[in-house]
Assembly symmetry: C2
Homo-oligomer: 136 residues x 2
């Protein structure tokens, strides 16, 4: 039986935050936005509709959980939630906190050039996210 | 009590396909992509996390329903599913069928200029979608 493994592109672009029942929660290494990615730990899932109904129900609750965390921690003006995957086929769901003052507002963030965190700010961001996002 | 009403911008940009338990299903008037929009009929919902848990569970199943329809009808290479709403605050979820041959592949479709359907192709597209997407 094949085991779930994070896609190498997601591994390279993101940092571990938490492991929930269904999904890995990863932080996109882009200091421009508080940007989390949920990756359901299901081998070969590409689309949301590829998941079993029970997993889909879990996924939307995990989306709600990280949405609440981003709203509370960063007082986001808007959340952008998306499963796109045109380039990285492994199913993953972006949850991005947006602000009227951010670099791309009101445009979507996908396809823009990321700006990596500095080490100290990354440590601080991870600490607050890991404190707030804990398995249920 | 306030009644649900479709946001005027969504009303202007999309055409009625079906009414599901939770969501209106609307076709984006953009012939470049088979592009549906789900609008949960809940007053003042802006984010997925604003919905009650029961409505969230329904929403993800309605996303699955229209995803299956788009996959079967158009043999989509990839589905793009997103709740963005930086410009139109009323909660709405895009479900877009993507193809390697489409005008924007592999970039996201949001923020690009729509190309309206011609009348005859719109009628045909609506007929096939309305036949396939029926309330459960």
């Amino acid at each position: 039986m094949k085991e779930f493994a994070l896609h190498p592109k997601l591994e390279a672009d993101t940092i571990d935050v938490a492991t929930l029942d269904l999904s890995l929660v990863r932080l996109m290494n882009d200091r421009r936005f508080p940007w989390l990615i949920l990756v359901p730990q299901r081998v070969d899932a590409v689309e949301i509709v590829d998941l079993e109904a029970e997993d889909r129900a879990t996924l939307i609750e995990e989306i709600a959980l990280v949405s609440n965390a981003l709203r509370e921690l960063f007082h986001a003006r808007k959340l952008n939630v998306a499963a796109i995957g045109n380039l990285v086929p492994q199913l993953h769901v972006h949850v991005v906190a947006r602000f009227e003052s951010d670099d791309e507002w009101p445009k979507p963030v996908w396809g823009t050039a990321p700006e990596p965190y500095r080490f100290d700010e990354l440590e601080r961001r991870l600490a607050s996210l890991r404190y707030r996002i804990t398995p249920t």
